[in-house]
Amino acid sequence: MFPILNTMPKMLPIAKIIRETSHVKTFVFRHQLGAKPGQFINIWVPRVDEKPMSVAMSNDVEFWLTIFAVGGMTKRLHEMKVGDLVGIRGPFGTSFEYESGDHLVLLGGGYGAAPLYFLASEAVKKKCTIDFIVGARGKEHLLFLDRVKKLGKNVKLHIATDDGSVGTKGYNTQILESVLSSVKPGNKKMTRVFAVGPELMMKRASDMCFAHKISCQVSIERYMKCGFGVCGNCCVDDSGERMCMEGPVVDHLRARKMKDFGAYHRDKVGRKITF
């Protein structure tokens, strides 16, 4: 498997900006990216920085990026207007794996709901049934609810909020636990959990799946520079696997062998930062 040889940024005007929550916007680009759910791109704001972002939707005519304003570059992005140019490189990395007809349990924390929405929208076409569990601090931080609801009857939406302003009060992992508990033994093999969000959430989800002997895939986000397997900044311990190439989506059994899973990540100079 050769990586994409040409990784020059493709300059694209922002076609549309959708405000999702106070800190989150979805940026729409009219371009056939050809990404699969779980893959990411690098988005470059000239003179500012370039950062990895999961693809929140990709079809024949457009793709979406759903972006939290957290620091310098994402805040600058949030100030940009329709028509402004950014550079896009990718898609890079691995994608979610499942079979037609599988039962998918999606656990999204933070912007994790966005790539999972992309996954769900593809999976329903493949006759999958879906439990879509989202969580956030409060109602106003929940993402993509309306879109998920429109995916049809095969998708069941579960909501958890820390403050109980909507859905179950508590963590989304609590909902996961009850969903997993209700899986009949005979259905375990075709049930797949996909967890995308804060690493500690994914770690908890993995522990639950491990206990229930249900398969699980997680998205391991590490500090990325190149995005295509050269710089070495995104490698995990002790396998040395590159999360931009052999990840970000990995089976949780592989994640569980990573010393850093749920424990630490590294900053841009490779220093360990505990979660």
Partner: protein
Amino acid sequence: MKVDLSVEFCGVRFPNPLVLASGILGVTAASMANVVRHGAGGVTTKSLWLEAHMGHPNPVILTTEHFMINAVGVPDAGIEKAKEELAIYNSMKKAPIIANIIAGRKSDYGQIAEEIAKLNPDIIEVNISCPNVEDELGKPFACSRDDAAAVTREVKRRVKKIPVIVKLSPNVTSLLEIAKSVADAGADGFCALNTWGPGMVIDLETRQPILANKVGGVSGPATKPLTIKAVYDLYRATKLPIIATGGMMTGEDAIEALMAGAQLVGVGTAVHYRGIEVFGKMRDEMGKWCTQHKVKKVEEIIGTLKY
């Protein structure tokens, strides 16, 4: 036929001549061990600083079918991280490790060298040739005969038992002038070459340089003939051991470099063009070539070019 691909370089035996080049997949011990697992005969750390060094913002690496340009800006967390990672690498060591060191001032090279020497790398490689920190640090020391020699002397003074090799820059009027002065200053070998330029890539839409650092070192398969010539010149002029680095993509490229006089072959950019599997592929290609040409020990072909 069983082919012995191992080579001795500065007294250290490498299971095969393919060494991960500095700055590629060299941030952590785990990553370097992974490269060895994929077939490399040795690894080079990314350039290590005494203190943390931030490097440049993204984008730091661009590629086309024809070249790679990078201005990562030599980020590093400093000596404490080096200690931790080198200890891990050594604890699971399967192939020699070359510690590549860098500093901003000539006088600082001695200290980082001394600190790194304590960590017992097999070889110390002195990076005086990075073209993408020019704005920060000025012309690389590898561009001046006297600076290059001064750095070499300083490192050699502080490092006693570990072989010290110097990484040369192609961006000079006379490579041999620099190399000879480095050799006279006590270098035990060379790594030839660092990246070319710097070069620049402009985004036509915004009319701005794409790399955050604006300019960066150029590498890629097209640099191979330049590396081969440099290696041969060094081999002929100094007889010191050489790592041929630059544009090495295939086992045949590595054989060519050995014929030109190299003991080892540095592989960096090829990780992009052929994947991380490139080490195993190149190793197997070398083995196949040797078998076909009845070469039992790959060391036999070093310097056999009939110029």
